[in-house]
């Protein structure tokens, strides 16, 4: 419900500081890796007593030996008035170098844990760790919701590049970030003494008085039984104090030894709290476990990526939410518009609908679907509902269905318009649920439920026409999608086909103007694109773009589209009238759910008519010779066999593994594209069970027919198109 709010505001407020923690954490995580790399290896099962002998022989007046988590042995000594710290090789006690902890590391560590501000900074850092934890948990909940449940947590992610960066990095590192924040909180609590980290009481022991000389460290039974790999610290008895003892600390506990008799005076096993703290330290710092340190480092370094992409997403959503002008109060309004929108895009449509009614003199009220209520003056009610992920309600409207059920039914009809994306299995599922709930309650409707695919302005305009007719009033929906800056593309060649049914078709090839490095940096001009992305074309005098699937990629060096002339079509008419050398205004819109991701798995391409264009683009770009199988249905080889000669060439170059055609208007042509699938059913099953991915492009009836036939074929291996879609292996581009 409010996870999105928590995530957004914590991200905005705490994200910048969390970035400091992440970057410094990533730098610190490098230390265990480097230390492990540098540390001289400790021979297995080397007794501590042998180490003491070796070290004592090499260094006079040793006072203490410490084994650092990465395995380095540091020997502290005090000789001739000088305190020294030296790193020794455990294998022979040889002095390797002076021990000098890096001041930079210490500075970074203090920045990381206290922002260089002492205890106040430590408290602040703990606060940000808590914020990070909440942020991560909220992110995880959003991720689960977006992907459609815990069981789909590993499903492929669809959406824009920024969305995918945010979500994919989230999926990879969220758990690590949760763990880092939790352990940070534990460590803070320990620092402030709220959680004990070791046993309170130490035994009060002293070396027994006596006249005999000290026993050398090599002869102490306790040290003979301890292994160097478990050692943490060994303190030699101070020369001046006859009562002082040997003190040895290992991961398992602490021992005290009489300096003269060599007897173990006391042994104290490490307390449970200390074991817990050791684990917390290990999990947080990665000390001694370089592979885990690397994981921690990557998670820390990902925070800037997270924050940056999160900020961009927030900014985009903010700019998509328009302000509604002339919003009347609900009780007075005769037209009510309720909106359910996860990221704000649907509000743009609501705004257009709102403005159209206001122009006709209506009093209109627009608000979120969670406020659903019919005022006494209401004559028409509209619900514009977007579907998020796997069919859930947008966050703000989570309780809207329950609210609808509580409202008294009035005579005003409620019309539902759904928004969604056919790439998702549950296209407009939430709008359907709302519509269903309204009908169950007994609300009338003016128009049946309609689903708008990918914010199509044309589809919305058509719905507006139907609405105007049903209302009996002139209504113009002036929805202007934000059109990205366009580039002038020059037509270099065209291939004309007579087409069937008097609808000529042409394959147009354009080139783009050269870009200087300044344009590239500023993001001007045509961005990189791949086959299957969309070319948005702006016909002269119109701000509403028409989209065509791209039959080429950026690397091909040209933009190619396949355009069938629509009767009365403004854009297709314009394109068909173009001569070589003339220009169009166009831009690229990514179509990430449809374009191929480059995985080396067999690919099944199914297309009909001009829908073959993006599939031809995939094959043209198949330089790695991934096995691609094309199932292609059209009407007549003489009239509309687009890309026919190219396919033959690509078969020869092994860019295309097999070609199956069907011509529906020629005798013995093989029927429709569905028939090619039926004929090849056995191999299809084999390809799919090998992990093949499927791309379908064409008209809606064709896509439905293909789904039906494939479900029939795949039923034998307990699979369905629905399941393939859910796994991201099946995508459609439908027009």
């Amino acid at each position: 419900m409010t996870w999105r709010l928590v995530h957004r505001w914590l991200g905005l407020v705490a994200g910048g500081v969390a970035m400091v923690l992440g970057v410094t954490g990533a730098i610190l995580a490098w230390n265990p890796v480097r230390d492990t790399w540098q540390a001289a290896p400790t021979p297995a099962d080397l007794p501590v007593s042998v180490l003491v002998e070796r070290v004592s022989a090499a260094i006079p007046a040793v006072e203490e030996i410490r084994r650092l988590p990465a395995g380095e042995l540091v020997v502290y000594s005090f000789d001739a008035g000088e305190a020294r710290a030296q790193v020794v090789d455990p294998a022979d006690g040889r002095v390797l170098r002076d021990y000098r902890p890096s001041p930079v590391s210490r500075w970074v560590k203090n920045l990381h844990r206290s922002f260089l501000l002492g205890d106040a900074g430590r408290l602040a850092a703990a606060g940000f760790a808590l914020a990070m934890l909440l942020l991560s948990v909220a992110g995880l909940m959003l991720l689960v919701r977006r992907l459609g449940g815990w069981h789909r947590l590993l499903a492929p992610v669809r959406g824009s590049l920024v969305q995918r960066i945010h979500v994919v990095t989230g999926r990879v590192v969220l758990v690590v970030l949760c763990l880092s924040s939790l352990t940070a909180l534990y460590m803070s609590a320990a620092t402030f003494g709220l959680i004990p980290t070791e046993a309170d009481d130490e035994p009060d022991v002293v070396s027994a008085a006596g006249r005999q000389a000290d026993l050398p460290g090599g002869q102490l039974p306790l040290l003979q039984g301890l292994r160097v790999q478990d050692l943490r610290k060994l303190s030699f008895p101070a020369g001046a104090d006859p009562e002082d003892t040997w003190t040895v600390a290992t991961a398992h506990g602490q021992g005290w030894i009489d300096r003269r008799s060599g007897q173990t005076l006391a042994w104290q096993d490490a307390a449970v709290v200390q074991h817990i703290y050791d684990w917390i330290m290990l999990l947080h710092t990665g000390q001694g476990v370089w592979a885990w340190a690397l994981v921690l480092g990557v998670a820390g370094a990902s925070i800037p990526l997270f924050w940056g992409s999160g900020l961009i997403l927030w900014w985009q959503a903010r700019h998509r939410t328009p302000r509604i002008v002339d919003n009347s109060a609900l009780p007075q309004a005769d037209v009510l518009i309720f909106v359910a929108s996860e990221n704000g895009t649907t509000w743009g449509f609501a705004q257009a609908l709102h403005a159209a009614f206001v122009r006709n003199g209506h009093r209109v009220h627009s608000s979120g679907l969670e406020h659903f209520r019919a005022g006494a003056a209401a004559r028409q009610i509209f619900v514009l509902a977007a579907t998020y992920g796997d069919g859930q309600a947008p966050a703000h409207a989570a309780l809207a269905l329950a609210r609808i059920a509580r409202q008294p039914v009035t005579a005003a009809p409620v019309t539902v318009l759904g928004f969604g994306d056919r790439q998702f299995p549950a296209f407009c599922a939430y709008a359907e649920a709302v519509d269903q709930a309204l009908r169950t309650e007994g609300w009338a409707r003016l128009l049946p439920l309609e689903g708008i695919h990918q914010q199509s302005a044309q589809q919305f305009a058509r719905w507006g026409e139907a609405l105007a007719q049903a209302l009996g009033e002139h209504l113009v929906l002036d929805y202007r999608p934000r059109v990205p800056p366009s580039t002038a593309l020059k037509l270099v060649s065209r291939q004309d086909y007579p087409g069937s049914a008097g609808e000529p078709t042409t394959i147009l090839r354009f080139v783009w103007p050269a870009r200087g490095w300044k344009d590239r940096l500023a993001g001007r001009g045509l961005p990189r694109f791949v086959a299957g992305d969309l070319l948005g074309v702006l016909p002269p005098g119109s701000s509403v773009p028409r989209y065509y699937s791209l039959a080429s990629g950026y690397r091909d060096g040209f933009v190619e589209i396949c355009v069938r002339k629509q009767p009365g079509g403004v854009c297709s008419g314009h394109l068909h009238g173009l001569k070589a050398g003339e220009y169009i205004q166009a831009f690229i819109q990514a179509n990430p759910g449809f374009a191929l991701d480059g995985a080396r798995r067999p690919v099944m391409l199914i297309g009909a008519g001009t829908g073959v264009a993006p599939l031809a683009g995939f094959i043209r770009g198949n330089v790695r010779r991934t096995p691609m199988h094309l199932y292609y249905g059209t009407r007549d080889p003489a009239l509309d066999f687009y890309f026919g000669p190219e396919f033959q060439g690509w078969l020869g170059e092994r860019r295309l593994a097999s070609l199956h055609t069907a011509f529906s208007r020629t005798p013995d042509g093989g029927g429709y594209v569905q028939d090619t699938l039926r004929r090849d059913a056995a191999r299809l099953r084999e390809l799919i069970s090998q992990g093949a991915i499927v791309r379908v492009c064409g008209s809606r009836p064709m896509a439905q027919g293909v789904t039906q036939v494939l479900d029939g074929i795949l039923g034998a291996i307990d699979l369905s198109v629905q399941q393939l879609k859910a796994r991201g292996r099946y995508a459609e581009d439908i027009f």
Partner: protein, 158 residues
């Protein structure tokens, strides 16, 4: 436990003095080396002629969980429930100087007492009894160098 005849920080003196007229002010200056580490914990305390604990003059560093690293002071003063009363402050950064004063009964001077300082720094080795200086009129004003962290320790009597 009987708390001996001295107290600390003139302003904060709370301890029993037989006769205030017979006391004087002890000013101590502890300059730390630039040892390249975080702030040092220091315990400044007195021992008597037999080496027994006689009172705490100052403890720099506020987290009790680290006091075990000031090993000698921690052990010797373990029985003194009021060892921290009014005598604690922040840890002392590398290269910095700690200046504190205490009220001192005249009877303690030239009577075999010693001023001792234990020092400890995070992730560096502990240095118990880093400084041991006799409390005598003759030693006042003479600088003493510690083994690990203390560049010079000087005390003055007024």
């Amino acid at each position: 436990m009987f708390r001996p005849l001295m107290t600390t920080l003139a302003a904060a003196s709370t301890l029993i003095l037989p006769a205030l007229a017979q006391s004087r002010t002890l000013s101590m200056s502890t300059a730390l080396k630039d040892y390249g580490g975080d702030g040092a914990y220091l315990a400044v305390y007195l021992t008597d002629a037999s080496g027994a604990y006689a009172g705490t003059l100052w403890v720099a560093g506020g987290k009790a969980k680290y006091y075990k690293h000031l090993a000698d002071w921690n052990r010797l003063s373990a029985g003194d429930a009021r060892r921290l009363d009014g005598v604690t402050g922040a840890s002392v950064g590398a290269g910095r100087t700690l200046k504190v004063t205490a009220d001192l009964a005249d009877a303690l001077l030239d009577a075999g007492y010693e001023i001792r300082i234990d020092a400890a720094v995070e992730n560096m080795r502990d240095s118990p009894s880093e400084i041991r200086v006799p409390l005598t009129a003759a030693d006042a004003g003479k600088p003493h160098t510690g083994r690990q962290y203390i560049q010079s320790f000087t005390y003055q009597l007024q």
